[in-house]
């Protein structure tokens, strides 16, 4: 079956895609938090209703102090997202704003790359598990930003 929800791209996003805002409604204005159960890296992701997103990482102490080009323990990035879904399962597809490549991306952390990630309807306070590319993550949807 073809994609049920498609193309929440940049400017045209949710309003143009019936059902999309229902999937993400509790994410807006709140924080999606993930923890890599192997590296213990933590991410915070904000999804905006207009198709923008922000992702922040705490990768833990780096080997040397940060300089102008890093390495950074804390990182952030922004970009655009689209939502697509099939048979009730949804994916949020991220397109990070170039050009900077961050350490979280090199480490293949969740939500750090230009890729599609599984996401489901959640409420604030929910906690769930996710396995992505062989790595187990714990996720939370927390109130506020």
């Amino acid at each position: 079956m073809a994609a049920v929800v498609a193309g929440l791209s940049a400017g045209a996003c949710r309003a143009a895609v019936p059902g999309a805002s229902a999937v993400l409604t509790h994410y807006y204005g709140n924080s999606l938090v993930c923890r890599d159960e192997k590296t213990r890296a933590i991410c915070h992701v904000w999804l905006d209703a207009d198709g923008r997103y922000y992702a922040f990482y705490d990768l833990g102490a780096r080997g040397k102090p940060a300089g102008i080009h890093g390495p950074f323990e804390i990182e952030g990035r922004e970009g655009r997202y689209t939502l697509r879904g099939r048979s009730g399962a949804f994916e949020v597809c991220l397109q990070p704003q170039p050009p900077m490549k961050i350490g979280a991306e090199r480490a293949h952390e969740l939500f750090s790359q230009a890729a599609c990630y599984p996401l489901s309807r959640r409420r604030v306070g929910d906690q769930w598990e996710l396995e992505w590319q062989g790595v187990r993550y714990t996720l939370w949807l927390l109130a506020g930003r």
Binding site: I68, E75, Q97, L142
Partner: protein, 230 residues
């Protein structure tokens, strides 16, 4: 734009869990050990009002020029001694910002005071959310050993802001009122507002700031103006 609160840039994070803030004008009936270094000439509301209401385009323009290189780039704060990465600030021209620290991202608004005699412009940051409820296991590791007041145990930090100048003191938590204790959280402090003096800097600059309200190490913060947003 309704002023809310802002994340202070720097090292305050190191003191995570200690801080407190007292509203301008509040009396602090407790012994104080200053954290903030010399209180320099504070700005006033002139520039902020000018920027918001167009009353003095010259003043607003001067402040905007000083901050120009911060927009679209990242101000990184780090420990002055260890160089450890402590926070990243993304300042937007529209009066909003995003601050990133080990507790995650923080959205907020900022206000700008008048340009000081030393050429710096005070930027007061206000987080939108005071205290996010973090699940157990998500708390960042403490960055430093809390300060101890001899004979009185672990210190709390009280900060007060007046005329775009924030000053902070280490105090005995036992001497604080319930309201003051609530203000000792980092989230509440930044929600209430923390002001940092920013000078005109070029992208790629690295410097040490010795008049931040809560210096991380050695009485100062290490700052880097990094190209792009990271």
């Amino acid at each position: 734009m309704r002023p809310r609160r802002v994340p202070g840039l720097v090292a305050i994070l190191v003191m995570s869990g200690l801080a407190a803030r007292v509203c301008s004008g509040s009396a602090l009936p407790v012994p104080r050990e200053p954290v903030t270094h010399g209180a320099r000439a504070a700005g006033d509301d002139t520039t902020q009002e000018a920027m918001r209401h167009g009353r003095s385009e010259a003043a607003a323009g001067r402040a905007a020029r000083i901050l120009a290189h911060y927009f679209g780039n990242t101000l990184v704060c780090a420990g002055a001694i260890t160089g450890n990465d402590l926070c990243h600030l993304w300042l937007n021209r529209d009066g909003t910002f995003i601050e990133i620290d080990p507790t995650g991202g923080h959205a907020g608004h900022y206000r700008v005071g008048a340009v000081r005699a030393d050429g710096k412009v005070p930027v007061c940051l206000y987080w939108d959310t005071a205290n996010m409820v973090m699940p157990r296991g998500l708390q960042p590791l403490p960055g430093a050993t809390p300060a101890v007041i001899p004979g009185r145990g672990t210190a709390a930090i009280l900060c007060r802001t007046s005329h775009f100048l924030t000053t902070c003191f280490r105090v005995d938590p036992a001497s604080l009122s319930a309201t003051e204790r609530r203000m000792t959280s980092m989230g509440q402090r930044f929600h209430d507002g923390m002001c940092y003096p920013l000078a005109d800097r070029s992208v790629g600059a690295i410097w040490f700031e010795n008049d931040d309200p809560l210096p991380a190490q050695g009485g100062k913060d290490k700052l880097l103006l990094v190209p792009g947003r990271i």
